[in-house]
Symmetry: C2
Amino acid sequence: MSDGGSLPGERVVVCRIGHRPGRDERTTTHVGLTARALGADALWLEPAAAGRRATVEDITDRFGGPFEVSVPDDPIRRIGRFDGRVVHLTMYGEPVADVVPDIRSGQRERPLLVVVGGGKVPRQVYDHADHNVAVTSQPHSEIAALAVFLDRLFEGRELDRRFADADRRVIPQEAGKRVVDA
Amino acid sequence: MSDGGSLPGERVVVCRIGHRPGRDERTTTHVGLTARALGADALWLEPAAAGRRATVEDITDRFGGPFEVSVPDDPIRRIGRFDGRVVHLTMYGEPVADVVPDIRSGQRERPLLVVVGGGKVPRQVYDHADHNVAVTSQPHSEIAALAVFLDRLFEGRELDRRFADADRRVIPQEAGKRVVDA
Protein backbone atom coordinates (compact mmCIF):
# COMPACT_ATOMS: atom_id res chain seq x y z
CA MET A 1 0.00 0.00 0.00
CA SER A 2 1.64 3.17 -1.15
CA ASP A 3 -0.27 5.93 0.63
CA GLY A 4 -2.20 6.34 3.84
CA GLY A 5 -2.01 2.74 5.00
CA SER A 6 0.53 0.79 6.92
CA LEU A 7 0.25 -2.62 5.36
CA PRO A 8 3.32 -4.23 3.82
CA GLY A 9 3.73 -4.93 0.14
CA GLU A 10 2.31 -3.76 -3.14
CA ARG A 11 -1.21 -2.85 -4.15
CA VAL A 12 -4.01 -5.39 -3.63
CA VAL A 13 -7.03 -5.16 -5.93
CA VAL A 14 -10.22 -7.20 -5.56
CA CYS A 15 -12.30 -7.98 -8.66
CA ARG A 16 -15.87 -9.20 -8.19
CA ILE A 17 -17.29 -11.12 -11.14
CA GLY A 18 -20.51 -13.03 -11.77
CA HIS A 19 -22.81 -10.37 -10.29
CA ARG A 20 -26.47 -11.17 -10.98
CA PRO A 21 -28.55 -7.98 -10.92
CA GLY A 22 -31.23 -8.04 -8.24
CA ARG A 23 -30.08 -11.24 -6.61
CA ASP A 24 -26.52 -10.19 -5.76
CA GLU A 25 -26.85 -6.51 -4.80
CA ARG A 26 -26.21 -7.08 -1.10
CA THR A 27 -23.51 -9.71 -1.56
CA THR A 28 -21.59 -7.52 -4.02
CA THR A 29 -21.76 -4.66 -1.52
CA HIS A 30 -20.43 -7.02 1.15
CA VAL A 31 -17.54 -8.04 -1.13
CA GLY A 32 -16.66 -4.38 -1.65
CA LEU A 33 -16.86 -3.39 2.00
CA THR A 34 -14.91 -6.46 3.08
CA ALA A 35 -12.18 -5.65 0.55
CA ARG A 36 -11.90 -2.10 1.94
CA ALA A 37 -12.11 -3.08 5.62
CA LEU A 38 -9.59 -5.93 5.37
CA GLY A 39 -6.75 -4.16 3.63
CA ALA A 40 -7.32 -4.13 -0.14
CA ASP A 41 -6.64 -0.88 -2.00
CA ALA A 42 -9.17 -1.06 -4.79
CA LEU A 43 -12.25 -2.82 -6.12
CA TRP A 44 -13.24 -3.62 -9.70
CA LEU A 45 -16.91 -4.15 -10.38
CA GLU A 46 -18.56 -5.40 -13.56
CA PRO A 47 -20.82 -3.01 -15.46
CA ALA A 48 -23.83 -5.02 -14.20
CA ALA A 49 -22.81 -4.17 -10.64
CA ALA A 50 -22.09 -0.48 -11.23
CA GLY A 51 -24.97 0.50 -8.94
CA ARG A 52 -23.01 -0.82 -5.94
CA ARG A 53 -20.20 1.65 -6.49
CA ALA A 54 -21.91 4.54 -4.70
CA THR A 55 -22.61 2.45 -1.59
CA VAL A 56 -18.97 1.46 -1.20
CA GLU A 57 -17.74 5.00 -1.95
CA ASP A 58 -20.13 6.42 0.61
CA ILE A 59 -18.56 4.24 3.33
CA THR A 60 -15.09 5.36 2.20
CA ASP A 61 -16.19 9.01 2.39
CA ARG A 62 -17.42 8.56 5.94
CA PHE A 63 -14.94 6.06 7.40
CA GLY A 64 -11.84 6.86 5.36
CA GLY A 65 -9.57 5.45 2.72
CA PRO A 66 -7.78 5.33 0.43
CA PHE A 67 -10.01 2.86 -1.43
CA GLU A 68 -10.81 3.17 -5.12
CA VAL A 69 -13.78 1.65 -6.90
CA SER A 70 -13.79 1.30 -10.68
CA VAL A 71 -16.03 -0.35 -13.27
CA PRO A 72 -13.96 -1.69 -16.20
CA ASP A 73 -15.91 -2.40 -19.41
CA ASP A 74 -14.48 -5.89 -19.69
CA PRO A 75 -13.21 -7.19 -16.34
CA ILE A 76 -12.23 -10.62 -17.70
CA ARG A 77 -9.93 -8.96 -20.23
CA ARG A 78 -8.50 -6.70 -17.51
CA ILE A 79 -7.78 -9.77 -15.40
CA GLY A 80 -5.84 -11.31 -18.29
CA ARG A 81 -3.75 -8.16 -18.68
CA PHE A 82 -3.13 -7.47 -15.00
CA ASP A 83 0.46 -6.46 -14.33
CA GLY A 84 0.99 -8.60 -11.26
CA ARG A 85 -0.08 -11.89 -9.80
CA VAL A 86 -3.68 -13.10 -10.08
CA VAL A 87 -5.38 -15.20 -7.42
CA HIS A 88 -8.85 -16.66 -8.00
CA LEU A 89 -10.75 -17.76 -4.90
CA THR A 90 -12.71 -20.93 -5.60
CA MET A 91 -13.76 -23.98 -3.61
CA TYR A 92 -12.13 -26.10 -6.34
CA GLY A 93 -8.64 -24.64 -5.86
CA GLU A 94 -5.61 -25.45 -3.74
CA PRO A 95 -5.83 -25.10 0.05
CA VAL A 96 -5.21 -21.53 1.20
CA ALA A 97 -2.81 -22.61 3.94
CA ASP A 98 -0.56 -24.30 1.35
CA VAL A 99 -0.27 -21.36 -1.05
CA VAL A 100 -0.61 -18.16 0.97
CA PRO A 101 3.06 -17.93 2.07
CA ASP A 102 4.17 -17.88 -1.57
CA ILE A 103 1.44 -15.41 -2.54
CA ARG A 104 2.42 -13.16 0.37
CA SER A 105 6.06 -13.09 -0.62
CA GLY A 106 5.08 -12.31 -4.22
CA GLN A 107 2.88 -9.43 -3.06
CA ARG A 108 5.91 -7.80 -1.43
CA GLU A 109 7.21 -7.12 -4.95
CA ARG A 110 4.28 -7.04 -7.36
CA PRO A 111 0.62 -6.03 -7.18
CA LEU A 112 -1.91 -8.73 -6.44
CA LEU A 113 -5.35 -9.15 -8.00
CA VAL A 114 -7.85 -11.26 -6.05
CA VAL A 115 -10.79 -12.44 -8.15
CA VAL A 116 -13.99 -13.57 -6.43
CA GLY A 117 -16.96 -14.98 -8.27
CA GLY A 118 -20.60 -15.62 -7.54
CA GLY A 119 -22.32 -18.51 -9.27
CA LYS A 120 -20.77 -19.33 -12.63
CA VAL A 121 -17.20 -18.23 -13.27
CA PRO A 122 -15.95 -18.26 -16.90
CA ARG A 123 -13.27 -20.80 -17.67
CA GLN A 124 -10.87 -17.97 -18.65
CA VAL A 125 -10.65 -16.89 -15.02
CA TYR A 126 -9.25 -20.29 -13.99
CA ASP A 127 -6.78 -20.03 -16.86
CA HIS A 128 -5.71 -16.42 -16.21
CA ALA A 129 -5.18 -17.12 -12.51
CA ASP A 130 -1.68 -17.82 -11.25
CA HIS A 131 -3.33 -19.54 -8.29
CA ASN A 132 -6.80 -20.98 -7.84
CA VAL A 133 -7.18 -20.91 -4.06
CA ALA A 134 -9.73 -22.66 -1.85
CA VAL A 135 -10.77 -21.45 1.59
CA THR A 136 -12.08 -24.94 2.31
CA SER A 137 -13.33 -27.20 -0.49
CA GLN A 138 -16.85 -26.68 0.85
CA PRO A 139 -19.47 -24.44 -0.75
CA HIS A 140 -19.97 -21.32 1.33
CA SER A 141 -19.50 -17.64 0.47
CA GLU A 142 -17.17 -15.56 -1.66
CA ILE A 143 -17.39 -12.90 1.07
CA ALA A 144 -16.19 -15.34 3.73
CA ALA A 145 -13.47 -16.68 1.44
CA LEU A 146 -12.21 -13.16 0.69
CA ALA A 147 -12.18 -12.28 4.39
CA VAL A 148 -10.16 -15.33 5.43
CA PHE A 149 -7.80 -14.91 2.48
CA LEU A 150 -7.04 -11.24 3.25
CA ASP A 151 -6.67 -11.92 6.99
CA ARG A 152 -4.11 -14.59 6.21
CA LEU A 153 -2.37 -12.61 3.47
CA PHE A 154 -1.80 -9.70 5.86
CA GLU A 155 -1.37 -11.94 8.92
CA GLY A 156 -3.90 -9.93 10.89
CA ARG A 157 -2.16 -6.57 10.40
CA GLU A 158 -5.08 -5.32 8.33
CA LEU A 159 -7.17 -5.18 11.50
CA ASP A 160 -4.99 -2.34 12.79
CA ARG A 161 -4.95 -0.36 9.55
CA ARG A 162 -5.60 3.35 10.04
CA PHE A 163 -7.84 4.99 7.48
CA ALA A 164 -7.14 8.51 6.26
CA ASP A 165 -9.65 11.33 5.79
CA ALA A 166 -12.42 9.74 7.83
CA ASP A 167 -15.31 11.82 9.14
CA ARG A 168 -15.89 9.44 11.99
CA ARG A 169 -14.24 6.68 13.91
CA VAL A 170 -15.58 3.86 16.10
CA ILE A 171 -13.96 3.46 19.52
CA PRO A 172 -13.97 -0.20 20.64
CA GLN A 173 -16.22 -0.88 23.64
CA GLU A 174 -17.08 -3.85 25.83
CA ALA A 175 -20.76 -3.02 25.36
CA GLY A 176 -22.73 -0.40 23.46
CA LYS A 177 -21.58 1.91 20.69
CA ARG A 178 -19.15 4.79 20.67
CA VAL A 179 -18.54 6.79 17.51
CA VAL A 180 -16.46 9.99 17.50
CA ASP A 181 -15.68 12.64 14.93
CA ALA A 182 -12.36 11.82 13.34
CA MET B 1 -17.63 -31.00 18.46
CA SER B 2 -18.91 -34.26 19.78
CA ASP B 3 -19.55 -36.36 16.67
CA GLY B 4 -18.14 -36.61 13.18
CA GLY B 5 -15.76 -33.69 13.34
CA SER B 6 -12.25 -33.28 14.59
CA LEU B 7 -12.31 -29.75 15.99
CA PRO B 8 -11.39 -29.19 19.62
CA GLY B 9 -13.79 -27.97 22.27
CA GLU B 10 -17.49 -27.82 22.86
CA ARG B 11 -20.36 -27.10 20.53
CA VAL B 12 -20.36 -23.83 18.53
CA VAL B 13 -23.74 -22.41 17.49
CA VAL B 14 -24.23 -19.43 15.17
CA CYS B 15 -27.38 -17.32 15.53
CA ARG B 16 -28.29 -14.94 12.70
CA ILE B 17 -30.56 -12.07 13.74
CA GLY B 18 -31.92 -8.99 11.96
CA HIS B 19 -32.90 -10.81 8.76
CA ARG B 20 -34.94 -8.55 6.46
CA PRO B 21 -37.15 -10.65 4.16
CA GLY B 22 -36.35 -10.10 0.49
CA ARG B 23 -33.29 -7.98 1.07
CA ASP B 24 -31.26 -10.47 3.14
CA GLU B 25 -32.08 -13.85 1.58
CA ARG B 26 -28.65 -14.30 0.01
CA THR B 27 -26.68 -12.89 2.93
CA THR B 28 -28.50 -15.11 5.45
CA THR B 29 -27.73 -18.12 3.25
CA HIS B 30 -24.07 -17.05 3.20
CA VAL B 31 -24.04 -16.77 7.00
CA GLY B 32 -25.42 -20.31 7.27
CA LEU B 33 -23.04 -21.86 4.75
CA THR B 34 -20.06 -20.05 6.27
CA ALA B 35 -21.02 -21.31 9.73
CA ARG B 36 -21.15 -24.88 8.41
CA ALA B 37 -17.99 -24.69 6.27
CA LEU B 38 -15.86 -23.03 8.96
CA GLY B 39 -16.50 -25.35 11.87
CA ALA B 40 -19.74 -24.39 13.63
CA ASP B 41 -22.10 -27.23 14.62
CA ALA B 42 -25.46 -25.52 14.31
CA LEU B 43 -27.35 -22.48 13.04
CA TRP B 44 -30.32 -20.68 14.54
CA LEU B 45 -32.46 -18.66 12.16
CA GLU B 46 -35.28 -16.26 13.00
CA PRO B 47 -38.80 -17.17 11.88
CA ALA B 48 -38.52 -14.45 9.20
CA ALA B 49 -35.55 -16.33 7.72
CA ALA B 50 -37.08 -19.82 7.90
CA GLY B 51 -37.09 -20.05 4.09
CA ARG B 52 -33.28 -20.22 4.12
CA ARG B 53 -33.26 -23.41 6.14
CA ALA B 54 -33.80 -25.73 3.17
CA THR B 55 -30.92 -24.20 1.21
CA VAL B 56 -28.45 -24.79 4.02
CA GLU B 57 -29.78 -28.29 4.72
CA ASP B 58 -29.50 -29.16 1.05
CA ILE B 59 -25.77 -28.36 1.12
CA THR B 60 -25.37 -30.46 4.26
CA ASP B 61 -27.16 -33.37 2.56
CA ARG B 62 -24.81 -33.20 -0.40
CA PHE B 63 -21.50 -32.20 1.17
CA GLY B 64 -21.86 -33.68 4.64
CA GLY B 65 -22.28 -32.74 8.26
CA PRO B 66 -23.16 -32.87 11.04
CA PHE B 67 -24.76 -29.42 10.88
CA GLU B 68 -28.15 -28.63 12.37
CA VAL B 69 -30.41 -25.77 11.40
CA SER B 70 -33.24 -24.70 13.70
CA VAL B 71 -35.73 -21.84 13.80
CA PRO B 72 -36.49 -20.84 17.41
CA ASP B 73 -39.68 -18.82 17.93
CA ASP B 74 -37.89 -16.15 19.91
CA PRO B 75 -34.14 -16.15 19.21
CA ILE B 76 -33.40 -13.15 21.46
CA ARG B 77 -34.89 -15.01 24.42
CA ARG B 78 -32.92 -18.15 23.48
CA ILE B 79 -29.74 -16.08 23.41
CA GLY B 80 -30.46 -14.83 26.95
CA ARG B 81 -30.94 -18.40 28.18
CA PHE B 82 -28.02 -20.01 26.35
CA ASP B 83 -26.11 -22.42 28.57
CA GLY B 84 -22.63 -21.33 27.59
CA ARG B 85 -20.76 -18.24 26.55
CA VAL B 86 -22.29 -15.72 24.14
CA VAL B 87 -20.23 -13.70 21.66
CA HIS B 88 -21.84 -10.96 19.57
CA LEU B 89 -19.92 -9.85 16.49
CA THR B 90 -20.23 -6.09 16.00
CA MET B 91 -18.02 -3.34 14.62
CA TYR B 92 -18.54 -1.51 17.94
CA GLY B 93 -17.01 -4.24 20.09
CA GLU B 94 -13.55 -5.12 21.38
CA PRO B 95 -10.82 -6.11 18.89
CA VAL B 96 -10.99 -9.80 17.99
CA ALA B 97 -7.25 -10.30 18.47
CA ASP B 98 -7.53 -9.12 22.10
CA VAL B 99 -10.39 -11.39 23.14
CA VAL B 100 -10.20 -14.54 21.04
CA PRO B 101 -7.64 -16.39 23.21
CA ASP B 102 -9.94 -16.12 26.22
CA ILE B 103 -12.99 -17.11 24.16
CA ARG B 104 -11.09 -20.11 22.77
CA SER B 105 -10.10 -21.36 26.18
CA GLY B 106 -13.70 -20.96 27.39
CA GLN B 107 -14.97 -22.94 24.40
CA ARG B 108 -12.83 -25.91 25.47
CA GLU B 109 -15.20 -26.30 28.43
CA ARG B 110 -18.56 -24.78 27.56
CA PRO B 111 -20.62 -24.32 24.37
CA LEU B 112 -20.25 -21.06 22.50
CA LEU B 113 -23.00 -19.06 20.82
CA VAL B 114 -21.89 -16.59 18.14
CA VAL B 115 -24.53 -13.98 17.31
CA VAL B 116 -24.31 -12.07 14.02
CA GLY B 117 -26.69 -9.28 13.07
CA GLY B 118 -27.67 -7.49 9.93
CA GLY B 119 -28.74 -3.86 10.16
CA LYS B 120 -30.30 -3.02 13.53
CA VAL B 121 -29.46 -5.26 16.48
CA PRO B 122 -31.67 -4.98 19.59
CA ARG B 123 -30.00 -3.57 22.67
CA GLN B 124 -30.66 -6.84 24.56
CA VAL B 125 -28.13 -8.64 22.36
CA TYR B 126 -25.34 -6.32 23.53
CA ASP B 127 -26.45 -6.93 27.12
CA HIS B 128 -26.81 -10.71 26.84
CA ALA B 129 -23.39 -11.04 25.21
CA ASP B 130 -20.41 -11.99 27.35
CA HIS B 131 -18.24 -10.41 24.65
CA ASN B 132 -19.05 -7.87 21.95
CA VAL B 133 -16.30 -8.54 19.42
CA ALA B 134 -15.18 -6.44 16.47
CA VAL B 135 -13.46 -7.82 13.37
CA THR B 136 -12.20 -4.31 12.63
CA SER B 137 -14.14 -1.23 13.76
CA GLN B 138 -15.02 -0.62 10.10
CA PRO B 139 -18.41 -1.32 8.57
CA HIS B 140 -18.24 -4.37 6.32
CA SER B 141 -20.07 -7.68 6.45
CA GLU B 142 -21.38 -10.03 9.11
CA ILE B 143 -20.39 -12.89 6.80
CA ALA B 144 -16.78 -11.69 6.67
CA ALA B 145 -16.73 -11.05 10.41
CA LEU B 146 -18.04 -14.56 11.13
CA ALA B 147 -15.47 -16.11 8.79
CA VAL B 148 -12.50 -14.34 10.37
CA PHE B 149 -13.81 -15.02 13.88
CA LEU B 150 -14.24 -18.78 13.27
CA ASP B 151 -10.87 -19.07 11.50
CA ARG B 152 -9.19 -17.48 14.50
CA LEU B 153 -11.25 -19.39 17.07
CA PHE B 154 -10.21 -22.71 15.52
CA GLU B 155 -6.74 -21.48 14.51
CA GLY B 156 -7.22 -22.71 10.96
CA ARG B 157 -8.02 -26.30 11.95
CA GLU B 158 -11.57 -25.88 10.64
CA LEU B 159 -10.16 -25.86 7.09
CA ASP B 160 -9.16 -29.51 7.48
CA ARG B 161 -12.43 -30.67 9.02
CA ARG B 162 -13.80 -33.85 7.47
CA PHE B 163 -17.53 -33.95 6.90
CA ALA B 164 -19.49 -37.15 7.45
CA ASP B 165 -22.17 -38.65 5.20
CA ALA B 166 -21.33 -36.57 2.15
CA ASP B 167 -22.53 -37.59 -1.30
CA ARG B 168 -19.66 -35.80 -2.96
CA ARG B 169 -16.29 -34.32 -2.23
CA VAL B 170 -14.16 -31.71 -4.01
CA ILE B 171 -10.55 -32.66 -4.69
CA PRO B 172 -8.27 -29.57 -4.63
CA GLN B 173 -6.78 -28.69 -8.04
CA GLU B 174 -4.36 -26.13 -9.39
CA ALA B 175 -6.85 -25.36 -12.15
CA GLY B 176 -10.31 -26.58 -13.10
CA LYS B 177 -12.79 -28.55 -11.02
CA ARG B 178 -12.70 -32.07 -9.70
CA VAL B 179 -15.64 -33.50 -7.78
CA VAL B 180 -15.86 -37.16 -6.79
CA ASP B 181 -18.51 -39.34 -5.19
CA ALA B 182 -17.79 -39.58 -1.49
